[in-house]
């Protein structure tokens, strides 16, 4: 009964003036993950989240990530021969995020901080933001959400900050 009360209270919250076309009331679960929550394989990172309560209703998936790391340069910086190499230097930092649930594609996004420079950069740290939003019904088959963060063309991935919202509209 306590639970029911709390739930009811929650449901009555945020009764907002419906001025905007795209306003929905949602309940669901939110996850905040960092790099340590991912399983690593080279520069590819994978996280799995258990999803329960999918009975075939319309689900909202809202996944966003900041992925920071070191870009890769070609040719690589090599101070043994000449530290004053005059370019061009092809700098790359490309990361992709793919989101699926029990094999059903939710969405993906790739972004980069690629540059073509005259010489090597002092700081190879870069960050991309990746967003995947979707609203769909999986027919009740969404049981495990899989988020792949792939360092497509990077030296390293140092940090991942991932927010996941899986919700239903009511």
């Amino acid at each position: 009964m306590e639970l029911a009360k709390k739930t009811l209270a929650a449901s009555m919250m945020f009764i907002s003036t419906g001025l905007f076309a795209g306003v929905v009331y949602v309940s669901g679960s939110k996850y905040t993950l960092n790099k340590a929550d991912f399983l690593q394989s080279g520069n590819n990172y994978t996280a799995y989240l258990e999803v329960d309560g999918d009975t075939g209703q319309q689900l909202i998936f809202d996944v966003d990530a900041r992925v920071a790391g070191l870009g890769k340069e070609s040719p690589e910086k090599d101070c043994n021969t000449s530290c004053h190499y005059k370019g061009p230097v092809d700098f790359r930092y490309v990361v992709e995020m793919q989101v699926s649930c029990s094999g059903i594609a939710i969405g993906s996004e790739m972004d980069n901080r690629n540059e073509l420079n005259d010489t090597w950069v002092d700081d190879r740290s870069r960050e991309v933001k990746l967003l995947v939003d979707n609203s769909l019904s999986t027919g009740g088959n969404c049981q495990q959400l899989q988020v792949d963060v792939k360092g497509v063309d990077v030296d390293t991935i140092e940090a991942i900050e991932l927010d996941v919202l899986i919700g239903e509209i009511f």
């Binding site: 907002s16 001025l19 009331y25 309940s27 939110k30 993950l33 991912f38 809202d62 933001k129 919700g167």
Partner: protein, 213 residues
């Protein structure tokens, strides 16, 4: 009343889940009816005694519980990995905004023509803003989750509601904050600002204000 029923049902399914999830995930060997190996190994456990229904406190030997004490094997396949992250259960309101929901704002300056004609007001597009009234903040912990994109146009997004404020810039925006505003959040202001006056082709922004339960 019908609506409330539906809400309750929806919420309850979501709330009941973490328990089943943990089991499905880790495939814990059940040692004794009702006692999972996880609990067994963590400290003491109760062992039921015969017929009289009493229970006896037992001290476990964790080494015997090889399957759960061992580091999980890394396999890249569905359903076999348990990097299990606890969800937090939330309820709230989600706005999906596009450019049409925003109001442009302008920098204004007066130009005084040199030959004494009437001054002219010059307005330069400086950004887009929206105010969303928020009800229901009575001092509980809130989650603010704002994310979206502006299709290549670099802008600064400033979000504020009572004590909550955050900014992000670029052509994508991610703001995620969990905090207690002491009940001060009654109007969410979102403001995109930029320097060059060309407008963004599009704005897409989802704004979640939710409470944790």
């Amino acid at each position: 009343m019908k609506i409330i029923n539906r809400i309750l049902m929806g919420m309850l399914t979501l709330i009941l889940l973490p328990f089943t999830a943990a089991q499905a995930n880790e495939q814990l060997p059940v040692i004794e009816d009702g006692y999972s190996a996880q609990i067994y190994c963590e400290c003491l456990y109760l062992q039921k005694e015969g017929d009289d229904g009493s229970a006896q406190i037992m001290r476990p030997i964790c080494d015997d519980l090889y399957p759960i004490m061992k580091e999980p094997e890394i396999k890249l396949g569905l359903g076999e990995i348990d990097a299990y992250v606890e969800p937090i259960y939330i309820g709230g309101v989600l706005y999906q905004l596009d450019k049409a929901d925003f109001t442009p704002f302008y920098n204004e300056r007066w130009l005084f023509p040199p030959c004494g004609e009437d001054p002219i007001l010059i307005k330069t597009l400086a950004g887009y803003t929206i105010n969303i009234p928020v009800d229901g903040d009575y001092g509980q912990d809130l989650i603010f989750d704002i994310n979206g994109r502006s299709d290549g146009k670099v802008m600064t997004l400033a979000a504020s509601c009572g004590n909550f404020s955050a900014t992000d810039s670029g052509d994508k925006y991610i703001i995620s904050k969990q905090m207690n505003t002491n009940g001060s959040c009654s109007n969410m202001e979102l403001k995109f600002s930029f320097t060059s006056s060309t407008p963004p082709a599009l704005i897409e922004l989802s704004v979640l204000i939710a409470e944790i339960f």
